[in-house]
Symmetry: C2
Subunit: 233 residues, 2 copies
DNA sequence: TCGTGGACTTGCGTTGCAGCAAACTGCGTC
DNA sequence: GACGCAGTTTGCTGCAACGCAAGTCCACGA
């Protein structure tokens, strides 16, 4: 396989604090893999054989209850470390990751983790930060679900998506990958129907613009107001 | 200060994989602190000056929304690492930790973290597992809040508490620290009133036994059935 | 012993949202 | 160009749980 140049991971926060030479060593153990749209990178319950860094694209991470209910855990964007189940002491992936657009990821065998962090403590520190941020996000979500109404939760979710994967278009900010009302419902702990109703209402007011698996925020600022719970005036 | 003997941390999972000599080095930088009941160990929003290992007692970790709503993030039991905000890249504690019973913790200055993990990679690995477990728990909670009814969520919460801090008594399993209905409500994203109603109903059926800041599970197995969503027969 | 306040209980009215059902629409495909 | 499906919209109905309010009970301190 052609060796990977370290310039491709220049913007990966988890590798910040590593010298170019260290990076070369780390990259020499990786291979890059392409995932077509709707293809799964790993599946909940299967052996955690690898960990990854997303180079390009977007993934949806979803998790299923024993009863068969599904939720969207989060979306992964380029530059993020993911699939570190093994490092967290799990033998199996706790969720499923699916490419929502054609994506490319670096991939290391999980067993490389042990000796990599022994040799490069900065890597462990970076991973700890990544997982820590995720923990913060997840706790924020619990807080939202405990204290906010559905409308506010959806507003928050859209704003977060826009921040993470927003693309400026003439009419506002578009979420840069296909996302259905069902997906939004699974992010916010509500139903497809309720999301549809609320987005329709917002579209009437000119706050958003919809479409098939497409959402454009036209008035992010007003949405932010809604998210913070200011009643509509 | 009297130096700390490594036997006191023999059962701390985060220190597994470290040699006795390593442990001595790590412990030499720690001091132990006693916290009376209802006393805070650290406060949300204040500088993350230290990280801790709980030696004895129980802590309640709670978090407040900007709007003033509060939730219980989790309970910390003896042997757990906590307050690792700095290691996760935060400058401030994201939550408040309060001793629910008289407690004792080991305490390190946050700035020690850097050089400790550089010297003892196993420590970083342990911390990653700790934070990883917490992430799993929090995600499980999101799943519960998305897919379960209040009654099931409360059953799950009580079973988790019993597992983590249950004490066998003649009549069943008692939760080993004072916990109010309000606390349970803040753990499950519901209200004091609803918790009270449900616990009363359960008490009628002989599933639990209540009291002022006291909960005894008399039929954990039946509760488990409820938690799994099997309708009451 | 009595008083006070915090924890808990319980009834009642209200409501946000889920659940069901049915129709619509845009997109890919044959 | 027609078909079929997946994604979406929308109306209606029911109910779980919230919010309020009015109590009771118990622990602790004076």
């Amino acid at each position: 396989m052609a060796s990977l140049d370290r310039s491709i991971v220049a913007n990966v926060p988890v590798f910040a604090g590593l010298s170019p030479a260290d990076l070369d060593v780390i990259l020499s153990e990786a291979r890059s893999v392409r995932y077509p749209r709707e293809c799964s990178v790993f599946d909940q319950g299967t052996e955690a054989h690898s960990f990854f860094v997303l180079l390009h694209g977007h993934l949806r991470v979803e998790k299923m209850t024993p009863q068969g209910q599904q939720i969207v855990v989060r979306y992964v964007s380029a530059g993020e470390l993911f699939g570190v189940a093994q490092a967290m002491g799990l033998k199996e992936y706790p969720a499923t990751a699916i490419a929502v657009v054609e994506s490319v990821a670096l991939c290391w065998p999980s067993k490389a983790w042990q000796h990599l962090i022994a040799r490069f403590p900065a890597l462990a520190a970076g991973a700890l930060q990544t997982v820590g941020n995720r923990l913060q996000d997840t706790q924020a979500r619990v807080l939202e679900m405990s204290s906010e109404q559905v409308e506010q939760r959806i507003a928050h979710a859209l704003l977060r998506l826009a921040k993470q994967a927003g693309r400026k278009v003439e009419r506002g900010v578009e979420i840069d990958f296909p996302i259905s009302r069902q997906d939004v419902a699974e992010m916010t702990g509500t139903t497809l129907h309720t999301v549809s109703r609320i987005l329709s209402a917002w579209e009437q007011q000119g706050l958003v613009e919809g479409g098939r698996q497409r959402i454009v925020l036209r008035e992010p600022h007003k949405l932010f107001g809604l998210a913070e719970g200011r009643s509509k005036e």
